[in-house]
Point group: C2
Chain length 338, copies 2
DNA sequence: GTGAAAGCGCTAACAG
DNA sequence: CTGTTAGCGCTTTCAC
């Protein structure tokens, strides 16, 4: 690997002149500059990012932590973010926390040790210990999807109250009264908002809430499958189900199919977030969609801003809540008569 | 961020003693060592990986480049690899080349500038220029999925000839004679092997090969959708289709559905690689499965070996070809009578 | 316009 | 056993 020294030697100048010329950061005569550029090309010089990072204290790497990288919602988000970030000369280190707060902390420490420029964090932790730990790292952070109180960071998310509220409303209008909600990991802001949206909409419609119909699926396919099996084998089973994310909706659908129920004629199903190729899944799921590109765009815009602002001025935490949209598929219909 | 200096000051020793003690790399009295560890803890010392990297010339980062990070085959692979790599104290930088060789080169250069320890590469390039460029980077590389001649790297993949051959054989046994193959990006080893597997099996069964039934889907959902629309609107349409990957199989299925054909009674469909929610897709696709965990395991084992062997001894390029397995779903059946 | 030198945080000889 | 020192590759004053 050629270094700045090799270039200097070949061009017959000092290393500082090379740096000045190549970075356009000082007065170098056009002639010398040209000679240096030539030399750099012939020796195949590429600046060592590690040295630059050590010098500047900040690398060109951005960390991104999500709960499940194989969840299509997050892999789309990752893809969108990565695309935008490459334009700024940054690279993304994507990590899967498996929704485990301890693992998340471990990863955050590792990213901090790498002196990453910033972090896009779909957090799964909370509590004073957790927030104190994050604050101590002093990294530019943009929270995405899951909001956490007590961290000086921007937050970009969707109106989660609305996501489940609109699905619930849709089912109520179709005539359902016994509606179940398969929720995500309890304690998370996103989860609680979605549960709230469900509850409020039920109550506003004058429907009673059967607490046993609100079950915890932990945002996982398997859990949702199991919970829905349980729900549908009860004598007072629900006629409709709202799943709090995409993979749980698919788990629910599988349970419905495996038990031999017809969807939507016997059980209606609605979920949050799309899956790619949803077009080939029968029935086509009714879903509340988060605007992935808008989320990715805002997150990166703000993070980059924060990275460049660092040391210059402080930016007060911002918050942007995008609105979901409703896609009505063929998985929801009026409840069976009787 | 506390540095080794802060620890040294607090413990009342020199920085080299701190380094020696904390890395267990020199003779330090038990007492001093303990004092140093205490000091490190109280100031919250964590070694700066960037400085270590600059010193050693090699970071704890591993790059991974795939053609499409949102393809479930690759996101599973990424997840598996990441899990294994964390155990060795490494982090993964995952990047999406969008199957573009130029973009792939750009990314490889960026990784090289970061002095990554090694790269897991699902390559989409070939030709002397390409291989020369990669050789020049001198990074430990493990090729995965796509084999490229002319690079001194290990290769881990699946017997791709067999994947399409077993699917074709399965269709022939069901009675099909007009079988189409929606292939991946032409020129890639993987693609060519799969086409070969298709051809050889047809020929071995004494069936003629209609060249117009071998179409290029470029491993993309949209392309496959379009190609299959075209195939099925021909007067001499095929009765069965072998798609060279998972997303193309789903694109094909969508085309079949959209045209109003029944799968499998009117058109049979088989694909390569699973999708996570395959259980809820009707009909359940017949697929040739690659052993993702074995691929990930071998790739990382070899890459880590190569990373540690660097400078010590050279390892001759190795190759491991795993066998696929056949999953018979409900998307394949005997061709319609007449 | 250009060069010398300090220093980012760490490791590893080499002295003592 | 412990401390001094050089140096990884680069940027950035500060002299000349």
């Amino acid at each position: 690997m050629a270094t700045i020294r090799d270039v200097a030697r070949l061009a017959g100048v000092s290393i500082s002149t090379v740096s000045l010329a190549l970075n356009d950061t000082g007065p170098v005569s056009a002639e010398t500059s040209e000679r240096i550029r030539q030399a750099a090309k012939t020796v195949g010089y590429a600046p060592n990012q590690v040295a630059q990072t050590l010098k500047s204290g900040r690398s060109k790497l951005i960390g991104m932590i999500v709960g499940d990288i194989s969840n299509p919602f997050f892999s789309r988000l990752l893809r969108e973010i990565e695309r935008r970030v490459l334009d700024h000369g940054h690279l993304i280190i994507a990590l899967d926390s498996a929704t485990d707060p301890d693992r998340e902390r471990f990863i955050l420490d590792a990213l901090s040790a790498q002196r990453v420029a910033g972090v896009v964090l779909a957090s799964h932790g909370n509590g004073p210990d957790y927030t104190a730990h994050i604050r101590r790292l002093k990294m530019p952070i943009v929270l995405i999807d899951h909001k956490v109180e007590g961290i000086e960071a921007d937050f970009v998310g969707t109106d989660n109250f609305l996501t489940s509220a609109m699905l619930t409303e849709h089912l109520i209008r179709l005539g359902h009264t016994r509606i179940a909600h398969v929720s995500g990991k309890l304690g998370l802001w996103t989860t609680m908002q979605r549960i709230q949206g469900f509850r409020s909409t039920m109550t506003a419609a004058g429907l009673p809430i059967d607490e046993s119909l609100i079950v915890d699926g932990d945002y996982l396919h398997e859990n949702a499958y199991g919970e829905v099996l349980r729900l549908l084998t009860r004598h007072d089973r629900p006629t409709a189900i709202v799943a709090a994310n995409n993979v749980m909706a698919l788990g629910a659908l599988q349970a419905i199919n495996d038990l031999g129920f017809k969807c939507p004629s016997e059980v209606s199903l609605a979920g949050i977030d799309d899956v790619p190729w949803s077009a080939v899944i029968q029935p086509r799921l009714t879903t509340a969609l988060q605007p992935v590109e808008s989320l990715a765009g805002t997150a990166i815009e703000w993070l980059i801003e924060r990275i460049y602002a660092r040391g210059t001025h402080i930016i007060a935490p911002r918050e942007r809540i995008w609105l979901p949209s409703l896609f009505v598929g063929s998985s929801t219909a009026a409840p069976p008569a009787g």
